[in-house]
Amino acid sequence: MNPSLQTRDLCVSLGGRQVLRHLDLRIAQGRWTCIVGPNGAGKSTLLRALAGLLPYQGQVLWQEQGVRPAELTGPQRARQLAWLGQAEPVSEDLCVFDLVMLGRLPHQGWLAVPSVQDLQAVESALRAVHAWDWRDRLLGQLSGGERQRVLLARAMSVQAPLMLMDEPLSHLDPPHQADWLAQVQALKARGVTVVSVLHEISLALQADEIVLLMDGRLVHHGPSAQAQTHRAIEAAFDQRLAIHALGPHWVALLVNPPASL
């Protein structure tokens, strides 16, 4: 039973300021949906609310049947949803293997040792991000890009049917961005629903669906290939970027750079 995500009249206030306003969303299962929008639009807040990491008003429902995350136990929730946060402080003295193994916590009893399935899941995730060869290194010994790949492997090792990622491509060089895109395709092929926040519009346009936010409101939700979606993105960024076709893909290029630049 693969989950999809749904919000009904979702509102989030942080520090007395309303960050998300009355969002009604429906995210299809087995698809990659990308949340985009200008700075301060509420993208990361939406992702955290979807993950149940923030208090919110309204409803967040998982799965077709409309299960509320609050109705599930902690481990049940964790097995349904994998989370990769943005710039969360991580201890430098964790070794790569042990860190990725933490993704298996929802599958383990409180005092249980890792099972064969846990070991296989960790190895598979580390191989997928090409990090298996340095599994014994400490996180503090890795570059920013290597560290990001390890954190991605940690999220993948949960093997959840729903994966939420906030800026997963930060610090990744172009070849590893391409690897990440391939990973998302592989996850989709297994029926995993992927929701990510990306600030790089050209990469976001490779998703199946785009959710466009502005000032905490849903401005547009549609397929990334749709011209209407492109026009909405251009408008949200004050026509300071233009989306063009490039082969089977689209790229967002800056237009009218200010004279000071």
């Binding site: 955290r48 993950a51 149940g52 990491l53 136990t73 902690g74 481990p75 049940q76 929730r77 964790a78 097995r79 949803l81 994998a82 989370w83 946060g85 969360e88 402080p89 991580v90 201890s91 003295d93 964790l94 070794c95 293997f97 042990d98 860190l99 193994m101 933490l102 993704g103 916590l105 929802p106 383990q108 409180w110 005092l111 040792v113 890792p114 846990d118 070991l119 190895e123 599994r135 014994d136 400490l138 940690r154 949960v158």
Partner: protein, 339 residues
């Protein structure tokens, strides 16, 4: 393939080394006395040595190890809970609370203990320190409104520490006759330890190890950030509160018996981390072993360096622990310069 048991084998190896050092330290502790060094096996040959070794030196050494182990455990838990390698067991105001407890006890009953009510005699200085340390942590938790916000918790700990410290200083000024005893408490000493104190600390250590064991995975997950730990289905708030209580109990149990011994709780987890990257289920008990050995060796030195004079053990732990951290700092700076 890297076996998941590898960290277990590393921890077992380190634990074995720690136990060997502890055995050596206890032998030295039994041999070191005010009259200099004596062979511990003389206890079987000379009946006059028996009570000295078994009733005085051995409980003091075992007690020093147990108090150090409690501080090492508390330090490892504090650094894991607060995700801060500079966190130490006294961070939540327990040291100031214990000092105030002792100062109040001495001010109220110290000068005329014979006239005091019987229950105060039973409670004693160690009881006052224990109650003071726990009360300070509870005040900190109340001020920070729980453990949800790390920064708020740390700030509340600083506020409680400074305020209770100021009250202690004021009381000491009002009653100058307690100053000397207070200084002794604040520098720490294992000289008063007996087998009853050892039993109490052993029970506290056992409880701390048993209670922190199932929450070691929460400490591991917290090293990925609080949001990620929550997303892994772990009870972050309840678990942190529980761990803070374990930390408070372990610290209070140690402080009540040996006073404010500096640096052990800070240096012991650092030493374990310097040797191997281990998950908390191994890191916490190993930090306890290192803390125990550190305080035991410091106590042996405190007894022997200027025998028959007994140096405050806090001076030695400050020198040993501080020197070790300084060494790590210089190595780190050397590494950065080379990079």
């Amino acid at each position: 393939m890297r076996s998941a048991g590898r960290s277990g084998r590393t921890a077992a190896r380190l634990g074995l080394w720690m136990l060997l050092v502890a055995a050596l330290g206890l032998t030295m502790g039994a041999a070191a006395g005010s009259t200099g060094w004596q062979a511990p096996w003389r206890v079987w040959q000379d009946p006059t040595v028996w009570p000295i070794v078994v009733e005085i030196r051995l409980p003091r050494s075992v007690g020093a190890w147990l108090a150090g182990a409690l501080l090492g455990l508390a330090g490892a838990v504090a650094q894991g809970v607060f995700r801060n390698p500079l966190a130490d067991p006294f961070l939540l105001g327990s040291a100031s609370g214990a000092s105030l407890g002792v100062c109040l006890y001495l001010s109220l009953f110290g000068a005329s203990l014979a006239l005091a009510w019987p229950w105060t005699v039973q409670l004693g200085m160690t009881g006052a320190a224990f109650v003071g340390a726990l009360a300070a942590v509870l005040i900190t938790l109340t001020l920070s409104r729980g453990v949800q916000h790390t920064l708020r918790l740390l700030l509340a700990g600083v506020i409680v520490g400074v305020t209770l410290g100021a009250v202690t200083s004021w009381l000491s000024l009002l009653r100058p006759e307690v100053l000397r005893t207070m200084q002794g408490f604040m520098l720490g000493s294992a000289a008063w330890l007996d087998w009853a104190a050892c039993l109490q600390m052993a029970l506290a250590l056992l409880a701390g190890l048993i209670l922190s064991w199932p929450l070691a995975r929460l400490l591991d997950a917290l090293s990925l950030g609080e949001n990620t730990a929550r997303s892994l289905g772990l009870p972050v708030e309840a678990g942190r509160l529980f761990l803070v209580l374990v930390l408070a109990l372990a610290t209070a149990a140690a402080v009540a018996k040996v006073g404010l011994v500096a640096f052990v709780g800070l240096a012991a987890p650092h030493a374990v981390r310097a040797v191997a990257s281990l998950p908390h289920r191994h890191r916490v008990p190993l930090s306890a072993c290192v803390g125990g050995n550190l305080l035991l060796l410091a106590d042996v030195l405190a007894r022997s360096l200027m025998a028959p004079q007994d140096l405050p053990v806090g001076l030695l732990t400050a020198a040993l622990g501080g020197g070790y951290l300084l060494l790590r700092l210089s190595r780190q700076q050397g590494g950065e310069a080379a990079a």
